[in-house]
Point group: C2
Chain length 433, copies 2
């Protein structure tokens, strides 16, 4: 038997992740070859700035590579077996490259959650048509092999819920707010100073990065189309130190969770701050870690936790995909298809318990008015805390509800917000699960 | 293209796990076929008692199966593609069946950690010779896909450490001892009454079950031969409520950990009660859950947690292996081979911090004698607690050491145990990592 041919990789993008992949493939070449059954080599590259200094350890490696000024040439370079798209962005050249590669039957590895969340359905169909694989372990939760867990490790299961801490920036900010008691803006500024948050933090803080990842997880786990528009998205800007204090008192931690859950009406997909009971593993994940809980019918609960970003972890996931492809495996593009009738359902149909904080004018009868509005929408209170009494002043009133229909609760809160004794718009934070 | 042929499974053993596999393959047949690319069906079975009642839901399924009175016939039945060995036991018919199947080039799925720990090396060589796969995800940590994580999900990594809670019975007993303050024997009796511990608990409580699993993990992660004799094994019988109390005070939780770690001299493999800092994820895993932490060079830390036993989780892992094999994948039998010169090293060469508890006669000079013995072996104390003073009585003295060589510490403790003022043999509990 002749020695198997080298598996030749072309990389598009040499930022943190691209350079990390180049380093990892060189550092662990022997072990990777053992796992893959053949050598895996980066042979070509395209990056914006060819002359940028990427570290002395990579200088020799970079000098040996075939450079393409136009990334799209990686789709046609005849001396390449697979394209690793590490450029990023939902559209533009990343999308063009992935499309061009798949169209020619060339497999693609990508870490690009935004691309997948926007165009994953179309790209998956293109891949299936052309008999090429699109692999995307690195697009969700960094080095945590959650796609492989859903597709293979727990592949015998019918899932009921996939829920996780999918954005390290938000988890760091919420952890720090709890540790320090500081306000959101203060902690965000600190996170930016420490490099845990971007100068423009919108994508992270407002929940969009987590939503991209959740759309990919939901599609993979439930076989529904990847569809960002089906994901309800709410960020963490409105979380106050007061809410964190009450959460502690009630036995919860506030986490930005992305949750895809099977309900009687279909699959709900939602990203929002969530009160997680402190007995749950996700409640204890602090700092920039990511974590995902997968609930199946045979395996009731698998928790995966680890770094969800960074050069090493992301490169670990990219190279794992390269090893799978080097073995000649055909990876399905998202699950083979949903069960009949499984559709995305809107957040309005969500039913679950909720935390509500009101700032009320401390005078007799306020709670009665609030309770009446809830009752009119058939929302049932589970607990109520109104500790401080300063007659005539604004005081917080916190209540938790029994499982309530989202639309009904929102209608009740809208009317409660219009009461003359309610001084700020009511705040709601959904309680897990 | 013609429809792919059904993947035909023969099951040996219809206990909890075997019946669970049969149920799962039937319940999720559609989803499994989508993942596998072909239908997976149990077509033949061998079990000790054909007439035993296995539940009304399985009666029809069992009636359709081809029964073999002799399990070894599953190795030769021409209408079978894969054998699932779910009999158990390191030797006897389970070993005969796996050998006979592999010898004929027939792939095997097994949940049998004892078999692998004792004969995994030979079986792996046989499988490689005959071009057959032996898959064993279910043999370690139940439904947690840790073998796949080591081999594939983190396949690009060079591992430095694999450490885990691998035995649910021990974790339940230790969790309950901490929750109740009760003695080991009391809690073990409760665990037996609740069905969490066997009538003969030796295999669990004395660390052997965890050692079987660790030997498999170490071989898979580091490419060394599976070799139970290289695993240092110490169980939890000697853990006292006093130790648990001191652990809490010092910021640790006592867990039975199985640890395989890369050291300068080779791979150490050890199962023993371990003081885990309460900030570590493994410290917070209570009850019958299993959990594994994998540390690699690219992915610094992946934590996997979930049920480590039971019909559903174990069946989940068995069927995941069946899906991989149904896809025609060749699974390597343990890693492709170790790095040059990587060998197992003995516990005597282990170096790490340690907790030591002495019961001493409370009189002047005792600590000086203890300190002198430690100094003579170059063991350096980090902290010492001698709180209660009852002159003339036995009092506990607890000390923690800086990283110390195991053999040196044992020599020191042997001499300390012989001091006239030391009333019980010294207790040592290694501190993680």
């Amino acid at each position: 038997m002749s020695a198997p041919r080298v598996f030749r990789v072309g990389i598009a993008g040499l930022g943190t992740v691209g350079a990390g992949v180049l380093r990892l493939v060189r550092a662990n070449a022997g072990a990777i070859a053992q796992r893959a059954g053949r050598r895996v080599e980066i042979v070509a590259v395209s990056a914006r700035d060819r002359r940028r200094d990427r570290g002395p350890d990579l200088a020799a490696a970079l000098a040996e590579l075939r450079w393409h000024d136009d990334p799209l040439e990686l789709a046609t370079d005849p001396e390449i077996d697979v394209v690793a798209e590490l450029i990023g962005g939902a559209d533009g050249v990343a999308k063009d490259l992935v499309e061009a590669s798949l169209a020619r039957g060339r497999p693609v590895v990508t870490a690009n959650k935004a691309l997948l969340a926007r165009h994953g359905g179309a790209l998956g169909r293109l891949a299936a048509e052309r008999g090429a694989s699109i692999a995307f372990e690195a697009s969700v939760a960094g080095g945590i092999p959650v796609i492989k867990a859903l597709r293979e490790g727990l592949g015998a299961n019918r899932f009921s819920r996939i829920s996780g801490i999918l954005n390290g920036t938000c988890n760091f900010v919420l952890s720090q707010m709890r540790a320090t008691g500081d306000a959101f803006e203060t902690v965000l500024a600190e996170a930016q100073a420490r490099g845990y948050a971007e100068a423009d933090p919108t994508l992270d803080i407002d929940g969009w990065d987590a939503a991209h990842k959740l759309a990919v997880l939901a599609a993979e786990g439930f076989g529904i189309p990847v569809d960002l528009d089906s994901v309800y998205v709410e960020g963490i800007r409105h979380i106050s130190p007061l809410d964190i204090e009450y959460a502690d008192e009630l036995g919860y931690r506030i986490k930005l969770l992305g949750t895809a859950a099977r309900t009687a009406r279909g699959i709900e997909q939602r990203v929002h701050p969530t009160m997680v009971p402190e007995s749950e593993p996700l409640a204890l994940v602090d700092g920039v870690d990511n974590a995902v809980v997968i609930e199946g019918d045979a395996m009731p609960r698998l928790v995966l936790q680890g770094p969800g970003a960074g050069a090493g972890p992301t490169a670990s996931a990219v190279v794992a995909d390269l090893i799978d492809l080097a073995q000649g495996r055909r990876l399905p593009s998202f699950a083979a298809g949903p069960e009949p009738g499984l559709a995305a359902v809107s957040i309005a149909e969500h039913a679950g318990p909720c935390y509500v904080r009101l700032m009320v004018l401390d005078q007799p009868g306020v709670i009665a008015d609030v309770a009446a509005e809830l009752r009119n929408e058939r929302v049932s209170m589970e607990a109520m805390i109104q500790r401080r009494n300063h007659p005539g002043n604004a005081v917080p009133v916190v209540l938790t509800t029994h499982p309530a229909q989202e639309a009904a609760l929102r209608r009740a809160l809208a009317r409660i917000g219009q009461l003359g004794t309610i001084l700020e718009p009511p705040r709601m934070i959904r309680i897990a699960p």
